[in-house]
């Protein structure tokens, strides 16, 4: 196993994690419908660690990241504990939050155009963030902007400072958004499918860049993806979500070699790769639940090949499997 996979030193030392989420619930209730998006999420992230959150559409990956930054819409009901670097994010007031976002924790999105302002140059947008958060002078902020564009390996960085977002290719735009996110040296970077919309040859460039920056800057990263390959390239640990809960968690190597929970097992088996030509692909029958009511059983039971009456009786607890692995299944398969 390469050294990149060894658990981070902070986790080994049992130090306070950078992120600690406990029993996080998020419900969206409108007149037409109610969605129980998160139903008791527990997550830890050590300083300098890369955690990939995997899961299918609607499983609550983005809502988890948004809850962490408290950028959910007003009508969302949130409960539970969120701590970042020992600070209670749920208790933060508006001013504290504004300082927290950007300076402590920053986010990059799938679509850079949602995060970049089309009417300002890339250089101005980065300098803006630096001035606002660090009280830097205009000249200092502009020097920092150039440094950041070089850090994210944008070619001819100096010239690109005066480019508008629409003048950049998709890959360069994504790098520019990463530069904006890194402007105030956050300890925590949240990334919501930042490479999903990129071309294959550009996606791998951005993944390698993120991994390099994370190591250089010692950041903790939570990276949301539905692509197992992306997790294979950059994760130290993975957490798999299903119907608003983490159903399995552990170091990436053993996970890829054989997941414990029947859902990720099915996911891995149904992922098309290499030489599967001529064979019938394994599938997971059915579809995920609608989330209109809070779960009273294992949410995966209706699709699970191992389900038995006890799975329908109560939500299964998280079961420790040793070596930092755990899964929410009463019929957990041996590792």
């Amino acid at each position: 196993m390469s050294t990149a996979l060894a658990p981070s030193t902070a986790a080994q030392a049992g130090a306070t994690p950078l992120v600690r989420i406990r029993d996080l619930h998020v419900t969206f209730a409108t007149r037409e419908r109610t969605v129980h998006a998160l139903n008791g999420v527990d997550l830890d992230l050590a300083a300098g660690e890369v955690l990939c959150i995997l899961g299918e559409s609607g499983s609550g990956k983005s809502v988890t990241l948004r809850a962490l930054l408290r950028i959910l819409p007003r009508f969302a009901r949130i409960s539970g504990r969120i701590e970042v670097a020992g600070r209670d994010v749920m208790a933060m007031g508006a001013r504290e939050l504004a300082d927290f976002r950007g300076a402590q924790a920053a986010m990059v999105f799938q679509e850079p155009m949602t995060a970049l302002d089309p009417v300002f140059t890339i250089g101005r947008q980065i300098a803006e963030v630096v001035e606002r958060h660090e009280g830097a002078s205009r000249a200092q902020a502009e020097a920092r902007a150039l440094e950041l564009l070089e850090l994210v390996q944008i070619p001819s960085a100096k010239r690109r400072l005066s480019a508008y977002p629409h003048e950049l290719s998709g890959g360069l735009r994504q790098r520019a958004m990463i530069a904006v996110a890194l402007a105030c040296r956050p300890k925590l970077l949240l990334a919501d499918e930042p490479t999903t919309a990129l071309d294959a040859t550009v996606q791998i460039q951005v993944l390698l860049l993120l991994r390099e920056l994370q190591q250089k800057l010692g950041m903790g990263v939570i990276f949301v993806t539905h692509d197992l390959g992306v997790a294979g390239e950059i994760a130290d640990r993975v957490a798999v979500m299903y119907a608003g809960k983490v159903v399995e968690e552990g170091p990436v190597g053993p996970f890829m070699a054989g997941p414990l929970h029947p859902y990720p097992r099915g996911l891995l088996a149904s992922t098309v790769h290499g030489h599967m030509r001529g064979r019938k692909l394994q599938t997971i029958p059915g579809a995920p639940p609608a989330l209109s009511t809070p779960p009273v059983a294992c949410s995966f039971a209706p699709r699970c090949p191992l389900a038995e009456p006890a799975c329908e009786a109560a939500p299964p607890p998280m079961v420790e499997a040793g070596a930092g692995r755990r899964a929410r299944c009463i019929k957990m398969l041996p590792a």
Binding site: M1, S2, A4, L5, E56, S57, P155, S169, G170, G171, L172, D199, A200, T201, V202, Q203, I204, Q205, L207, L208, H226, D227, L228, G229, V230, A231, G232, E233, A235, V252, G253, M256, G266, L267, S270, T271, V272, H273, G274, H275, M276, R277, K280, L281, Q282, T283, I284, P285, A287
Partner: protein, 348 residues
């Protein structure tokens, strides 16, 4: 309504394209004059054999969807010819086939499962719509629609009267496939048909496509940027770069012995699920260039590690690497003057 009979026999390509070109004008200035052109498809020739699945891969903007639209004749090519089972498409007076007859035999499934269904029609009516327009009696068209729903794995009792918004993405894509099959086409063009689906659902739809092809005697053109999916489903694979074909061949040849440096880089860019085999350096740097102003000579030369003077000067043509496996690279042509020409390319 039955599938139209084979004409030229199994050896004749179902569809043969020659020199297909489509440029999109970019309007600008005060008078909306054409200031430049996007060379979306720029001299593409290939054929689709009867009963095969031809996969088309390439990065965003390389012209895959434009090629698909040209194949469907949803837009007119600027130049080039199309021959369907021996008949020139759109030239009925010269012994060819009319666009109307052609369009019945070639159907398409898109990535966006919402866009091609009428939100105000129950799905059964959406499926029956094509045959109705082509003169099938109402009861028969509806009966067909129900059979097709069953064929794509949706119980007609449960689903026939549902509206598109009452279905999941995977279910909607099944309806789109049923709708495409309603006119009994011989060829189906699938443009990123599983790209919007979750992995577990993607596998269901891929299995379904394989079954239906067998059951209805279909020929597929399957477009995707997912190299693993294309490897799974295709018999032959075509690789596009900036509006041109750079390599085409049997799936094993393309994946095991890629000859074009771009194909090799594309394959090497696939993320690996095995964390012990992580990449240390990206196979390619930079983004694909702008199709408004493609590089001279070989369009890949600005990102190619092997580019030499000849690559800027002359455009490589598709040449045989081995039987049925062709690549457009000067290294594959012993007479090109490239210093690596004729050497074992795969070892590079």
């Amino acid at each position: 309504m039955e599938q139209i009979q084979d004409l030229g026999g199994p050896a004749q390509p179902l569809l043969a394209l020659q020199g297909l070109i489509k440029h999109f004008p970019i309007k600008g200035g005060l008078f909306g004059r054409t200031v430049a052109k996007v060379r979306a498809v720029d001299g593409v020739s290939f054929s689709v054999c009867k009963g095969e699945t031809l996969g088309i891969v390439g990065e965003s903007g390389c012209g895959k969807s434009t090629t698909a639209r040209l194949l469907m004749r949803l837009m007119e090519p600027d130049a080039g010819s199309m021959i369907f089972d021996g008949q020139a498409v759109g030239e009925p007076r010269a012994g060819g086939i009319s666009l109307r007859d052609y369009r019945r035999q070639v159907q398409m499934v898109f990535q966006d499962s919402y866009a091609s269904l009428n939100p105000r029609l129950p799905i059964e009516d959406s499926i029956a719509f094509g045959p109705l327009v082509h003169g099938t009696p109402r009861e028969e068209a509806r009966q067909r629609a129900r059979e097709l729903l069953a064929a794509v794995g949706l119980s007609p009792q449960q689903f026939a009267r549902r509206y598109p918004h009452e279905l999941s993405g995977g279910q909607r894509q099944r309806v789109n496939i049923a709708r495409a099959l309603a006119l009994r086409p011989r060829m189906v063009i699938l443009d990123e048909p599983v790209s919007a689906l979750d992995k577990s659902v993607e596998a269901q739809v891929l299995n379904l496509l394989v079954e239906l092809k067998e059951q209805f005697g279909l020929t597929y053109v399957f477009i995707s940027h997912d190299l693993n999916v294309v490897q799974f489903i295709s018999d032959r694979v075509l690789v596009m770069y900036l509006g041109e074909v750079v390599e085409i061949g049997p799936v094993e040849a393309i994946y095991d012995r890629p000859a074009h440096p771009y194909t090799r880089a594309l394959l090497a860019s696939r993320p690996s699920m095995d964390p012990a085999r992580r990449r240390l350096a990206p196979p390619l740097t930079g983004d694909p260039p702008n199709p408004v102003n493609p590089p001279s000579g070989c369009r890949f030369r600005t990102r190619c590690a092997f580019a030499e003077e000849v690559c800027a000067r002359s455009k490589p043509t598709l040449a045989a690497v081995e039987g049925g496996h062709l690549a457009a690279c000067h290294m594959a042509d012993p007479a090109s003057g490239h210093s690596r020409a004729g050497r074992e390319v795969a070892a590079a």
